[in-house]
């Protein structure tokens, strides 16, 4: 019996009159990698922010291991610590060294001692292959390195699920590979992930399910094979075609 880590139930969100999410529902199981893709402005980032309540929805519900994040009794800050978030623009803490960016969560939020938190952070840095860079400040690192620190910051919290919001789209092309590689590694270790990305090679390699969103609704879902061989909806076909023109074929090789 597979356990549901996240349940998104009929989520709606509007900014003023602009309906951004119009009834989104899906479940994420333990160890699953979900890839969400769709045109810019379709509501992908909003969806991720709703899942960890950085943006509370107007209607609907999000459950983390069966517990509602909308429950007024729920301690949102506590629950949020179980949901990692990797940002498009990294959002590292500028005044902290790489290692401190990673250890601050375990120390302040999980209540580990400084030493324990440092050990946890070091292990997380090893996972993203940044253990030699722990004493650098964010502004002294490349975008790819910063994003790997961002991933380590999430990993160190030992979360139930990590949300990725276009983690490679702010990177120079030559830096994308190192970040995708780290994401592949942690996906293969069984990390539960929801990844908004247009990197079809990544999706092909590890996605259990792909979700195609447009205009605030889920238009089509399916396995990577489904989408690469015979997508059904006109909009998905169109969009995938545009992506291939932009980014090249899904076959784009990543070492696996």
């Amino acid at each position: 019996m597979m356990t549901k880590v996240i349940e998104v139930k009929d989520v709606w969100k509007a900014y003023d009159t602009l309906e951004v999410l119009k009834g989104i529902s899906f479940d994420v199981f333990e160890g699953e990698v979900k890839v969400v893709f769709g045109p810019s402005g379709s509501g992908k980032s909003t969806l991720l922010r709703v899942i960890n309540m950085l943006t509370p929805p107007d209607k609907g519900e999000v459950l983390l291991r069966g517990q509602s994040l909308m429950d007024p009794q729920a301690d949102l800050t506590k629950l949020r610590a179980h949901i990692g978030f990797v940002f498009q623009n990294f959002n590292l803490f500028a005044h902290l060294k790489a290692i401190d960016n990673v250890s601050i969560g375990p120390h302040l939020v999980l209540g580990k001692t400084k030493e324990e938190a440092h050990d946890i952070a070091f292990k997380a840095l090893e996972k993203v292959r940044m253990n030699d860079w722990g004493h650098h400040y964010p502004a002294q690192l490349s975008g790819g390195q910063q994003q790997r620190i961002g991933i380590a910051r999430s990993l160190a919290m030992n979360p139930d699920v990590i949300l990725f919001d276009e983690p490679t789209s702010a990177l120079d092309p030559e830096l994308i590979g190192e970040v995708l590689q780290v994401m592949l590694d942690i996906a293969k270790e069984g990390t539960t992930m929801i990844v908004v990305t247009h990197e079809l090679g990544f999706a092909r390699a590890v996605a259990d399910e792909m979700i195609f969103m447009d205009h605030g609704v889920i238009v089509e879902t399916g396995t990577p094979q489904h989408f690469f061989q015979n997508p059904k909806s006109e909009r998905a076909i169109d969009f995938l075609h545009k992506l291939e023109v932009l980014y090249g074929q899904a076959e784009t090789d990543i070492e696996s």
């Binding site: 949020r80 610590a81 623009n89 959002n91 601050i104 939020v109 502004a139 910051r153």
Partner: protein, 247 residues
């Protein structure tokens, strides 16, 4: 060698007379420095609290902070000092409290009394309002992304302010805040108007008695200039030491 003319002789004698007032000037300088440091640090603490209140506080706290800041910056400092230092008299309170200590020349002097204390506090309350605005500016310049990141790893708002926002905004505020630190010694001269024996009032006394206004005030100007230059230098050293590498 040209013989010294009588006028020059009198001039020299008068300059020598300034020497008599050097202890007064020294004590005045000490008073000015005392007022300055007290007001600067009171204002620093208050400024940080006000800036946090204005930037992060709820609607009520933020409005109270804003009202305070606008009131203190919008009314003349001299009026504030006059109003507050006459308060004990107006309320018929006992104003005889004072601390008398020997100065470095061995003469007993009033080091602190009610007027001096109220004057220092008012300077601090006023400076706090200006300092708050420098801190608020730097708080607003911290990227919202870092706030989201702090939330996303489960930090409380308090932890986010304490561990993410403040360490960055306080560092960033230093260059702008230096303005306040540098100009504040000048503003302490309003203490003269309520009879506090600061550097300026010592200068006025010495100038009046020796008829050497130009010399005395030039001396005061030089002292202020040295003071301000030293403060700027110290602050830029501090800033370079604490600023975030790579930025």
């Amino acid at each position: 060698m040209r013989p010294t003319s009588p006028n020059q002789l009198i001039g020299m004698l008068q300059i020598n007379r300034i020497v008599e007032y050097l202890p007064d000037l020294w004590n005045g300088l000490s008073m000015t420095m005392g007022l300055y440091l007290f007001a600067l640090f009171l204002g620093l603490g208050l400024g940080i609290v006000l800036a946090i209140g204005r930037h992060y506080g709820g609607p009520i706290v933020s409005r109270i902070s804003t009202a305070y800041i606008e009131f203190m910056r919008g009314t003349p400092l001299l009026a504030q000092i006059l109003a507050i230092t006459t308060l004990p008299l107006a309320l018929n309170l006992d104003t005889s409290w004072r601390i008398i200590l020997q100065d470095i020349f061995g003469t007993p002097r009033i080091t602190v009394d009610i007027t001096i204390l109220l004057c220092a506090i008012t300077l601090g309350l006023n400076s706090g309002a200006y300092q708050a605005e420098y801190f608020r500016g730097s708080m607003a310049s911290i990227s919202g992304g870092q706030t989201l990141a702090a939330k996303s790893i489960g930090m409380t708002k308090r932890q986010e302010i304490r561990h993410i926002a403040l360490p960055q905004s306080l560092r960033r505020a230093i260059p702008a805040w230096s303005n306040e630190a540098v100009y504040l010694p000048k503003y302490t001269t309003v203490a003269y108007f309520v009879g506090v024996p600061d550097l300026f009032s010592a200068a006025k006394l010495a100038a009046g008695r020796t008829f050497q206004s130009l010399t005395v005030y030039s001396l005061v100007a030089v002292i202020f200039l040295v003071l301000i230059t030293a403060i700027s230098w110290i602050l830029s050293r501090i800033y370079n030491r604490v600023k975030i590498p790579g930025i």
